[in-house]
Amino acid sequence: MIEHRDDLASKMGMWLFIFTELLLFGMLFVVYAVYRSMHPEAFKLAGQELDVVLGTLNTVILLISSMTVAMSISAIQKGNKKLALALLTVTLIIAVVFLVNKYFEWGTKVEYGFNPGGAELHQLGHGTILFFGLYFVMTGLHALHILIGIGLFLYVFWQVRKDKIHQTDYIWLENTGLYWHLVDLIWIFLFPLLYLIH
């Protein structure tokens, strides 16, 4: 039984999936852009409620995790299993830390009553409600993608360990890497739009 393999087609399939993801988040960005143009002042004020330090920290660690995945592919290509596993471990730790930061960030917002249906949000205007609704939906959908990424990395880590992913067959690692960079790519736009622009 000869195993059928077509790495290029696998990669193309992954890119097609990434396009659906880009359009999914893209439409949320369109909604954000329209509501921002309708409520510019409210969006400015509401954006100032977000923790820039925490947002920047999460941006920095996510960029680092993108590099470690990209490096783990180079390591596998060079046949360096140990290094690939170490780099994947760093990526996994960073993904978990990102979610822990998000937990505290969301916790603070809920504490102040900024969550959808929250007490504080009721006192504020329509624009503020829209901003925080979008903030929770967009960062929430993004966090869900991080969570799925953790599952993928656990699987890939296991496969590398068992030598199922190796120097001549690493498309699973490559496609998981592509997925992770997509998650990073989306955050690159979420960060300035939600946290920075005042």
Partner: protein
Amino acid sequence: MSQEKHHIVSYKTHVFVLLALLVLTALSVAITRVELGPLNTAAALLIACIKATIVLAWFMHLKFESRFFTVMVSAVIILFLLVILVTFFDYSYR
């Protein structure tokens, strides 16, 4: 098909790419702390686009893949920009 030679990106290149991304991140934080009015948004989005291009080209390997991938990605980005354009035409001229 699957046995062709693959381009291996060196570790050093990856480190330089990360440094570039971190510098751009610092720049976008710094630039939005300064009061520039609508220029803030433009600057932040421009830097985000540069960062996205770097991630696509190096981390996502578009620079080293067949040109076909780059064409596909560009087409999707153009489609997305058209959607934004049409949406805003709709909202502006109602």
